[in-house]
């Protein structure tokens, strides 16, 4: 399979592992954060920690757009579908995320019309096919998915649809990275930069990381070879005393990103003054809001939403895990009260959640499960 097999080629992987073993300085440990939850899953899925030198510690970051969404926002989305004649559409990842009164899947089992879609354009189609219903799309994601939501809103306007709206929870990655760097808890040597966000944003937005904080950041792909190469590139910079942004994922990520996608985003969205992130608190200019010209397709304008701040259960340590301060298995609820079938927080069920990845791929090595 093109673009997959070459990047999973065992001899290449073995060679990269050997290079990494040679480049690490004896007696030194390296703490590298992979920002993106997709990288966390890939690292565990491919067993990469088994072949990395033990002095390299990979720390998972907050790059999981479902995980950073506060419970109150999930409740707001579920409040939309409580209106009679409404259909709520969302990505599969949202279906098992706990709200205060259950997950969307549980609400669906109790009769709420909640449907999984693979794309917001599917939601638009459902609206066209169901003129008697109002169809709302629960939009989540970093810059990766914002363009398709933007294009969907532009299309809704083109079609003059009156029975469609978007509940916008898009967030942007740079404020999250900055919050990590500003946090006193973290001592990091470098970053594996987001792969798919960068296809939209390009690599320039990360230049503040080496410039203001002196840390290398390498934008990397998701296959084993990509991740190992990315780690190697970070280590080479550290070895040379350098700090810059590099692009390992050149086959997909253009340095300047996707101007058309960025234009679409900014024609439809603007930055919220602030937005609450689980674990990172209120961050200014970190989330997207639908512009007033598109208000009639903005679920927050069309519906009365509770807008309640719901704090995580006291014992849950979602915030610390999101920041990389705690490993998933160090949370007191991990594997006990909190597991993929009965999650306390979204990190345990999202396809980019650190707890989900750890639970799914690593627990054979973990005494928590003994």
């Amino acid at each position: 399979m093109k673009y997959v097999d070459e990047f999973r080629d065992p001899p290449v992987i073995v060679r990269l592992a050997r290079e990494l073993a040679h480049i690490v300085e004896p007696g030194r440990t390296y703490r590298i954060m992979e920002v993106c939850g997709g990288h966390t899953h890939a690292i565990y899925r491919h067993g990469l920690r088994d072949i990395l030198p033990p002095s390299i510690e990979l720390i998972h970051g907050p790059g999981c757009p479902v995980c950073v969404l506060p419970t109150g926002r999930v409740d707001d989305g579920l409040a939309i579908v409580a209106n009679p004649g409404t259909i709520l559409t969302c990505f599969g990842d949202m279906m098992r995320v706990p709200g205060s009164l259950g997950t969307p899947l549980e609400h669906k089992a109790r009769g709420a019309d909640i449907r999984m879609v693979y794309s917001p354009l599917d939601a638009l189609r459902i609206a066209q096919e169901n003129p008697q219903h109002h169809v709302s799309f629960f939009a989540i994601g970093f810059e990766t998915t914002a363009p398709s939501t933007a294009l969907t809103l532009l299309r809704a306007r083109e079609l003059g649809l009156t029975n469609f709206s978007v509940f916008c929870n898009h967030v942007t990655i740079v404020p999250a990275i900055r919050a990590i760097l500003e946090s006193p808890d973290m001592r990091l040597d470098g970053f594996i930069g987001p792969g798919h966000v960068s296809t939209v944003s390009g690599c320039r937005p990360y230049e503040f990381v080496p410039r203001d904080y002196g840390k290398p950041l390498v934008v990397s792909g998701f296959e084993p070879v990509d991740i190992l190469e990315g780690v190697l590139m970070v280590l080479r910079q550290l070895r040379a005393g350098e700090a810059k942004v590099e692009n390992q994922y050149r086959r997909i990520v253009p340095w300047d990103g996707n101007p058309a996608a960025l234009r679409a985003i900014f024609s439809v969205f603007e930055l919220r003054p602030y937005f609450e992130w689980r674990g990172l608190g209120f961050i200014s200019q970190s989330a997207l809001k639908i512009r007033s010209e598109f208000a009639q397709w903005d679920a927050e304008a069309r519906f009365e939403l509770p807008g309640v701040r719901v704090t995580d259960p006291k014992a849950a340590q979602c915030g610390e895990v999101l920041k990389g301060v705690l490993k998933p298995a160090q949370c007191k609820l991990f594997g006990r009260e909190c597991n993929p079938e009965h999650p306390v927080g979204a990190l345990m069920v999202s396809s980019e959640g650190a707890c989900a990845a750890y639970y799914r791929y690593v627990h054979h090595a973990d005494p928590v499960f003994a």
Binding site: M1, V4, P10, I13, V14, A17, Y44, R45, H46, G47, L48, R49, D50, I51, G92, R96, L105, E106, A109, R110, Y118, P224, P340, E341, S351, Y359, R360, Y361, V362, H363, H364, A365
Partner: protein, 339 residues
Amino acid sequence: MRFKDVQIEMAHGAGGKASRRLVEGLIAPLLSNATLDELGDAAVLPFGAGRLATTADSFVVRPLRFPGGSIGELAVNGTVNDLAVSGARPLALLATFILEAGLSTQTLREELEALAAAARRAGVSVIGGDTKVVEHGKADGMYISTFGFGTVDERALLAAGNVRPGDRVLVSGSVGDHGITVLLARGELDLEAQLESDTRPLTELAFALIDACGDGLRWMRDPTRGGVATALNELARACGHAVLIEEDSVPLRSEVRGACEILGLDPLHIANEGCLLAIVAPQSAGAALEVLQRTPGGERAADIGEIREAPERTVLGRNAYGGTRTIDMLVGDPLPRIC
């Protein structure tokens, strides 16, 4: 284990962890008896001088027809296969139909013809059954339940308790074909592939192993809902050992691999309908593989791993460069109404 869920969800029908909790935490305790409590693929009762295997299965697949098969074939093969992996040739089947008002007779006729053809191919007769009709909107076309029984071959000494470290894990064919075929047949995704359900009776493959291995054949299973991963996790739990799978040796069609990559699915969690898992003693493994590969339906059979002492009750996957991961039982329900 107690079943604490307040209501039934789709996940309870997926064949994974939730299904197991429902059966082990609610259904089995309320009906408890020595035979049921073993929770084998088929229930085995002493019968005269021998043993009788009985099994029940129900089919709610959507759509009714898909490349390589239809609900009628699944209904026969699914039950025949539960008997086969228990070491029994099928003696007879019973079939019940729940039909939706508005179902076209032509569709029903086609399914009955498919069922009849599958029964002939499997060498079994449908000797009775029942039919009910429910209102339009209450049965999605039709639901079929089948019940089968057969005598267990005296050479078949199959039990998870017989499995020991050093035993080999064999699979009779490529994995994930059925689930992905049905998923694509729903037409909800912009994906097409040259792929067919692998539905087939496994009796000949199972008996080829019994003939070749005798008591070197420890355990068999047909990995339907929940896939190979779920079946191996159930084995690991039951025998107390570890199962180590060499991931690159699992036979996988490129179409299934591609679809799973795009959709973020694990082929090991996808349902199969014509594939057999067997645990065999190491000294029997060579002969077992050879005989599978010579039997129709077993051409892609492969040795995919081994049983180890530790870590206990765990299934591990190892890739070609030595990276390992846990292979967990299916959680949730990525592909509902798959069989």
